[in-house]
Every structure is written in structure tokens, then in C-alpha cells.
């Protein structure tokens, strides 16, 4: 066992102390042992490994780096007590293992009979403690996903573990009515005939909360007992209303630490709350496979860029993931809900802005917001504030009373985004949100999307045909071509993978082209270049433009222009598909993609 522990001294789970008894993955992805749900943390960021009595740390080529005592870590390093590890905004401190609180006292006098060595080793090795501390237990359980161990607000919270809203958390900051009638209840269980119109109410009380049955026909049960009066709830209590089992969380307890659900739901068990999980997804239109068995995983709080030309299968994928198009094969889960079997739950979880801003030209922004909020079931008492907040956020307050028919493309896109957010979705799908927008509108939209991820922890699935958009906005990029994902990773990783820079030289005299080619050929592989230019993709190890210039100068070749091109996502696309992304959409099967 190592002699040091890792303490989280700043960040979301500040105060926790981890013992590293096996290799621990640190990252944003749900497969991580220590999940740090921050945008600056990569899905697989770093790894802590026990190494004799010490711990070593390895940076897993994270985008924003792992820092030890302020220095960026490259490769692996052995940690010592006192080292400070920085991952995103989370700070970890390496601490020496504390001695046991009460060391066994030596006996006052030697025992009369010294203990005999055992004749044989004990039949059973010592058992681990029956109930290890929660954190340790979770860390030691293989495959347990700690993404659910996020810190919830300090408000007492209801966790709906079964029923139509399974997987949903409801903070109880003020009275929350549960019932079947949308006009009377805050949490609406309208698909359960055993639930009365106003069934029960949860009210904050001190640091906890109480539940009271509102004269329901079929009763409210706390830990299996039907209640007849207001009952104070404790952490871990289970309240049953119709088919819905609600667990009570009081104080800032990680959700994962809650007692297991009495009736586990396979659909949501172990799933990250805001994740997108796709396995072997297929969409077939007749003989044509528009989407051909794609796999992808988008971590909570991640911006995933889905890049590809027209007709590649981007929008078809979005339509399937948003329940607008049935899946031909494979599985897809959004926030743990199956898109084929749990459409209503998926739709209540997601916000969607499809390719064309779907707006009614005859209505103004306020009317659009009112319509959307009413259909989404946002209570009328909240609508005014919510619509004003969203309209202001997208910068449409001045024009909100005008009909949409008079809006520019950028304004329509911004309204579209606001409409997608009215019900506070956890996962946002944006299908080519900036197509046709001017650079200013595009930048404004990028800023808003980044803000949503940073401040609201939203997961964003963004399709685009713009390389720059994917490069600037996305934490990770999947490149899709002809229905298949041909590359996936962070933009930096993808570029690094294929990644050698290109030098393009334009000689003053066209007749010097061959001579320039001869010189450049020494530095790598010649590739196509613009008119009159000669280009070379530099061999690994040659990164200095000066070497190329000196070689040209040595041959007395006069050049009009020398350019160094860093690898781009288009280069990635070119390498992976043999075609350039720009213009790759002009192909016959583009028609298979839905509008």
C-alpha cells in the first residue's frame, strides 16, 4: 500500500481524500474513477498508479495539461508528499498517510506465554471491512462511474428513481407538489393513473424536508408505510407515489452515495446524467445506409463536434438521437434514456435547434417563447421571467415584438437557440447552428454555447461542416463520412495524429518550379499546392521553416512567397477519407439526408 494519499483541496469534491490502491483514471468521462466534470478537463485526463509505497501520475495527453507544483507534467512522474496536482480548476494535494488514530498499546508486561506461530496459514485471508467508507468503496469498485457523484445543491433534493420521470432530480427549495394534473402540480406524473391530480407535497423544513399526502386516492408511502400526516424525511428515505419511487437526498451528498434504488432501472443505472451513448447506430433508407453502425460517447459537460460534409449522415444521426427518426439498428441513450423506448423522457431532457431555424414567420419572439413554454409544460408563473431572461440572453429584447418574418438569419438562429432552452435541457443538440451566418453572428453563437457548457454544465452535440467551428468550439470531434465515423478525438489529437506541417513555396520565376521541388523534396513528401507553388509535407523532426529557406537560398532560388501551414482538420479529413472536406458534400447520396 502506498504511504501517501491524494486529498482534493479545491474543486467540486473538495474535502475528499483518496487512497490509491490501484490504478485510478482521472478525467471528465464517466469511465473515470475520479470524475472532474469541468470543461478544461479531458475525458481521460491523467492516471494515478500505486508504485511501491509511492504514487506515480501520468498525463494522458490531456488538452489543457496536468500540472505538478505549477509545472506542466509530461509523461509520468513519481509523487511525493506535499506535491500539488492541478487538473482543471481542481487541486489535489499529496499527503503522507496518517498514522492510525489509536495505535495498539504495547502490553504492560510480556505475556506469560508468547504466542505460537500458527501451524498453518489461516484458512481464510482477512476479510475487508463489511462497510468501507463510501468514497473508498466507490473507488475500489471496478467500473463504477462516479459521474453521478457530482455534488448536488445544498437544497434537499428528490431523486426520482422509477416511474415516468426516472433519473430526474428535483431540488426542494420551496413547496413542490407532485400530481397528475399539469395545472396543479410541479412534478407531473400524468402517465400514472394511480397518482391523484394533487397527490402529495414536499416542503423544505430546516435543513431537511417534509412530505404530506394531499388526500390522494391511492396514498403516499414513506419507506413502505402509508402516511396520514406530514412526515419529516431523512436522507435515504424512500417515498412511493403510484409507480414512482422517490429517494430523499438531504445536504450535499453525492448522488452516487445514495442508497441503491429499491427497484433498479436498467435503463438509467450507471449512466451519466448528461451523457450521450451510441452503439452501432444504423439508419437505413431502402438500400442506402445513411448512418452505418456508428459508436460514440459524449461525456457530461462536453461539446462534441460532429463534422462532415453534406449527406455524410450528421443530421440523420441528430434526428435519431432526438427521437424524430426511428433507429434502424443499434442503441442510443441520452442521459441514460433509450431513444427508442423512452422517447418522452428523452425529449424532456434535450433541447434541439435543427438545421433550419424552425420558426413561424407570423409570430414574434414573445409568442414563440410562450408557445414553446406552454407545450413544454413550463408553469405559467415562471414563463414571463424565463422568456425575458432567454430573450435578453440571446440579444433579441429590442426586436422581440416584431414578427420573425422580418428577422435576419442570425436573429432567427438566436431565437431558435432560446426556444431550445426554455425547459432547461441537460443535453443540447445543435444541427449546423451557424450555417449561413455572418462571422459576427457566428462568434456570438459560439460564445453562448460555450457559456451554456461552462455555467450550466450542459452537454452539447454540435454538427457542423465548418472546420473552424469544430476547432474552436468542440472539446472532441467525430468526423463522419458516408455514414461512418472515420476519426475521433480532440482537434489537437486529430491534427497531431496526421499532423505534420506543410511548407508551400512560390518561386518568382515559374521556370524554377522544378528546382524548388528538388529542394523541397529533401524535407518530406511533395503534395499538391496552389498555382505556381510547390508544397511539401515536412518529415517528422523537421519543424523549422528556416531550414527550408536556407536550403532554397543555398541554391540561389528566388521565392515570391513561403508559407508554413499547420495541419488542419481538413488535412485530417483528407488523410482519413482521401478527399478534402471542402466541397466533399457534392455527391449523389447527399439526397438521403433529411432536411
Amino acid at each position: 500500500m502506498s504511504d501517501v494519499t491524494i486529498a482534493i483541496v479545491a474543486g467540486a469534491e473538495s474535502g475528499r481524500e483518496l487512497r490509491v490502491e490501484k490504478s485510478l483514471l482521472v478525467g471528465r468521462g464517466p469511465g473515470s474513477d475520479l470524475v472532474i466534470p469541468e470543461p478544461d478537463v479531458s475525458t481521460r485526463h491523467a492516471r494515478l498508479t500505486p508504485s511501491g509505497s509511492a504514487i506515480s501520475i501520468e498525463d494522458l495527453e490531456s488538452t489543457n495539461g496536468t500540472f505538478i507544483n505549477g509545472e506542466r507534467l509530461t509523461g509520468t512522474r513519481l509523487l511525493q508528499a506535499g506535491d500539488v496536482i492541478q487538473v482543471g480548476t481542481t487541486t489535489l494535494e499529496v499527503r503522507a498517510q496518517k498514522p492510525p488514530a489509536d495505535p495498539p498499546k504495547p502490553p504492560a508486561s510480556p505475556p506469560a506465554d508468547p504466542p505460537k506461530p500458527p501451524a498453518s496459514p489461516p484458512a481464510d485471508p482477512p476479510k475487508p471491512p463489511a462497510s468501507p467508507p463510501a468514497d473508498e468503496a466507490r473507488l475500489n469498485l471496478p467500473g463504477l462511474q462516479l459521474t453521478r457523484a457530482r455534488v448536488i445543491p445544498t437544497l434537499p433534493t428528490l431523486v426520482l428513481v422509477t416511474g415516468q420521470l426516472a433519473g430526474t432530480n428535483v431540488p426542494v427549495g420551496e413547496q413542490v407538489v407532485v400530481g397528475r394534473d399539469a395545472a396543479l402540480a410541479d412534478v407531473i406524473l400524468d402517465q400514472d393513473s394511480d397518482v391523484s391530480r394533487r397527490h402529495a407535497t414536499f416542503s423544505p423544513s430546516g435543513d431537511g424536508m417534509t412530505v404530506q399526502d394531499l388526500g390522494s386516492t391511492n396514498g403516499t408511502f414513506v419507506n413502505g408505510q402509508r402516511i396520514t400526516q406530514a412526515v419529516a424525511l431523512a436522507r435515504g428515505d424512500q417515498v412511493q407515489i403510484g409507480e414512482t419511487v422517490i429517494e430523499v437526498l438531504i445536504a450535499a451528498q453525492p448522488v452516487a452515495a445514495a442508497a441503491p434504488a429499491p427497484t433498479p432501472i436498467p435503463e438509467v443505472k450507471g449512466q451519466a446524467p448528461n451523457s450521450i451513448e451510441v452503439k452501432g447506430l444504423v439508419k437505413q433508407f431502402g438500400e442506402h445506409r445513411a448512418v452505418d453502425g456508428i459508436d460514440l460517447f459524449v461525456s457530461p459537460g462536453e461539446i462534441y463536434g460532429f463534422l462532415g460534409p453534406n449527406g455524410a449522415g450528421k443530421s440523420t444521426t441528430v434526428h435519431m438521437l432526438t427521437t424524430l427518426l426511428p433507429v434502424s439498428g443499434g442503441t442510443a441513450r441520452i442521459a441514460g434514456f433509450d431513444v427508442m423506448k423512452q422517447g418522452p423522457q428523452v425529449r424532456s431532457t434535450i433541447g434541439v435547434a435543427l438545421q433550419a431555424a424552425a420558426l413561424d414567420p407570423q409570430l414574434n419572439s414573445w409568442e414563440h417563447m410562450d408557445l414553446q413554454m406552454a407545450l413544454q409544460g413550463v408553469p405559467s408563473s415562471e414563463r414571463k421571467q424565463r422568456r425575458e431572461e432567454l430573450i435578453e440572453r440571446v440579444g433579441l429584447t429590442q426586436r422581440a415584438s416584431r414578427r420573425v418574418s422580418g428577422y435576419s438569419g442570425g436573429m432567427k438562429r438566436r431565437l431558435d437557440l432560446a426556444l431550445a432552452l426554455v425547459h432547461r435541457p441537460r443535453v443540447l443538440f445543435l444541427d449546423e447552428p451557424t450555417t449561413g451566418l455572418d462571422p459576427q453572428s457566428r462568434t456570438a453563437l459560439w460564445e453562448e454555447v460555450s457559456r451554456l457548457v461552462k455555467e450550466e454544465g450542459m452537454t452539447v452535440f454540435l454538427t457542423t461542416q465548418y472546420l473552424e467551428e469544430a476547432d474552436v468550439l468542440a472539446d472532441r470531434v467525430g468526423i463522419i463520412d458516408r455514414g461512418e465515423i472515420v476519426a475521433e478525438g480532440t482537434p489537437a489529437q486529430l491534427k497531431a495524429e496526421i499532423g505534420r506541417p506543410t511548407v508551400e513555396v512560390t518561386p518568382v520565376e515559374g521556370t524554377d518550379s522544378n528546382a524548388v521541388s528538388d529542394v523541397l523534396g529533401r524535407f518530406g513528401e511533395l503534395v499538391s499546392a496552389a498555382h505556381r507553388g510547390v508544397a511539401v509535407r515536412l518529415r517528422p523532426g523537421i519543424d523549422d521553416l528556416a531550414d527550408v529557406v536556407r536550403a532554397l537560398d543555398a541554391q540561389s532560388l528566388k521565392v515570391a512567397n513561403v508559407e508554413l501551414h499547420a495541419p488542419s482538420l481538413d488535412d485530417v479529413f483528407l488523410v482519413k477519407t482521401g478527399r478534402s472536406l471542402e466541397g466533399a458534400g457534392e455527391k449523389p447520396d447527399a439526397a438521403a439526408e433529411p432536411a
Partner: protein, 268 residues
């Protein structure tokens, strides 16, 4: 960072959904005068032309009235109602083509509500239009043989006809998903109108082929139901046939629209 702090509301009541969509339907319909006004003026123009041109017909022995404008007003009400098809269907087709239907499908609203509530706007317009037609007729000497009660029933039938043609428009839009196909209904309805007993009572149509077509043409019964209240008073058979055909048509068209739209706009 907050990941799940909102109180979820995944559903609104059906009544609330209907109210919301109906309100939008009314607003967008009334905001398109360029669509509504021609639809209203064309039947009035036809009423003016036909009432002048058809006066001679009243001299045919057995013609049920001396006032051709009274005779033809029933057809005007039917013709006005047919515009509900292009209006309701056109709006639904626009929603499908423009992606607005997808937006609504992404809410908890039921598909049936999304379709049926779209008729609210055309019902309002159709009702106002029928009142205007009746008032214009009365101003030009039309009398309602069935009296004031008959006039109210006439308006109720006109509303039923608006519902019928609006539903046919929704069905067409749902099946075709295109505005052009919905607009093609206008020509079809005009042809069916002129091949019905709109201009002449069926028993006075001379040509046997025309009489046969008019007999099998449901438009004849719609026209005859409205006309009976104006010309002959309370005619139970004419009313039963007209109302029965219209009601059956509404049920078939709406049911068809919902079924077709369920398939067209598949949602899991």
C-alpha cells in the same frame, strides 16, 4: 456547475396543449389577410355573377324559388368553406416543410392535438366568412325559409363544412407534406362544385350523364342541405344527408390525417 437543478415538467395538460396550438393557429391565420381576403371575395364574386346570370333559370317550371340568389347562396356557403382546405392544409404543410412541426414534435404535445388544434384558426375565419356571406345575401334580398332558427342551423352547417374541408386539407398536407399539393385541391373542389346540383336542382338537370354525376357527387348533398334551409324550409332528408356526409367526411379526414401524420412524422 449545475447539472439537474430544474423542476422537470415533462407534460402539459391536453386542454392546455389544445389552447396553445389553437391560439397560434388563430393568430397566424388572421395575420395572413392576403390569403383570407381572396378566399372570401371569390365566392362573393361568384354569387354576384351567378345570381345575375341564373335569373332565367327561375322561370323553369318546377324551379323551387323565384330568387336565384337565394337558390345559389347555399352553394356560396359551401364554396367559401372549401377554402378552409387550402388554408388549414397550407399552414400544416408549411409547418412540415419549414420544420416547425419537428419543433412541436419535440415537446410532450400529442400528435393528435398538434393536428386537430390547427383547425382553430380556419374555424374562426370560416365562421366569420359564413356570417358575412349570409348578411350579404340578406342585403340583396335573400330570405331564409326556415326562419331565424334555420339561419342559425345554416351557420352551424357552414361551420361543419369548414371543419370538413379543413380536415381534408390537413389530410392532404399530412399525406403529401407539400404546399403545392394542398393548393391543387382548389381546382378539384371547383370542378366538383360545378359537377354538382349547385346551379340547378337535380330533378331539373336535363342531361342524364350530368344528373348521374351530380347524384354521386357528395357536393350536391352539401349544397342541398344548406339550400334547403334557404329555399324549402325544414327538409329533414336534405339536412340528414348533408350533415351525415359532412360528419362522416370530418371523421374520415381527421382520422386519416392523424394516421398519415403518425407515419409521416415518425417519432419514437
Amino acid at each position: 456547475m449545475s447539472t439537474s437543478v430544474a423542476v422537470p415538467r415533462v407534460s402539459s395538460s391536453v386542454a392546455g396543449q389544445v389552447r396553445t396550438i389553437a391560439r397560434r393557429s388563430i393568430a397566424r391565420t388572421l395575420r395572413q389577410p392576403a390569403v383570407i381576403i381572396p378566399n372570401m371575395l371569390f365566392p362573393l364574386f361568384m354569387l354576384a355573377v351567378l345570381s345575375k346570370a341564373g335569373n332565367q333559370a327561375t322561370k323553369i317550371p318546377g324551379f323551387p324559388t323565384k330568387s336565384y340568389i337565394t337558390f345559389v347562396l347555399g352553394a356560396t356557403l359551401v364554396q367559401g368553406a372549401t377554402s378552409a382546405a387550402t388554408l388549414a392544409g397550407g399552414l400544416l404543410a408549411e409547418d412540415i416543410e419549414g420544420g416547425f412541426m419537428n419543433r412541436m414534435l419535440l415537446t410532450p404535445a400529442s400528435k393528435s392535438v398538434l393536428i386537430i388544434a390547427q383547425l382553430a384558426g380556419v374555424l374562426i375565419v370560416g365562421f366569420l366568412q359564413s356570417i358575412i356571406f349570409l348578411l350579404v345575401g340578406l342585403a340583396f334580398g335573400v330570405t331564409v325559409k326556415a326562419g331565424v332558427g334555420g339561419a342559425l342551423v345554416l351557420l352551424a352547417i357552414a361551420l361543419l363544412l369548414v371543419l370538413l374541408f379543413g380536415s381534408i386539407g390537413l389530410f392532404t398536407a399530412a399525406a403529401a407534406g407539400s404546399l403545392a399539393q394542398v393548393q391543387a385541391l382548389t381546382g378539384l373542389f371547383i370542378a366538383l362544385m360545378f359537377l354538382s346540383s349547385m346551379l340547378m336542382p337535380r330533378n331539373l338537370i336535363k342531361h342524364e350523364w350530368f344528373k348521374t354525376i351530380a347524384t354521386y357527387n357528395p357536393f350536391s348533398y352539401l349544397v342541398e342541405a344548406t339550400r334547403s334551409l334557404l329555399v324549402t324550409g325544414w327538409d329533414g332528408q336534405a339536412l340528414a344527408l348533408g350533415i351525415g356526409i359532412a360528419t362522416g367526411g370530418v371523421i374520415l379526414a381527421l382520422f386519416g390525417a392523424v394516421i398519415v401524420l403518425q407515419r409521416t412524422l415518425e417519432r419514437t
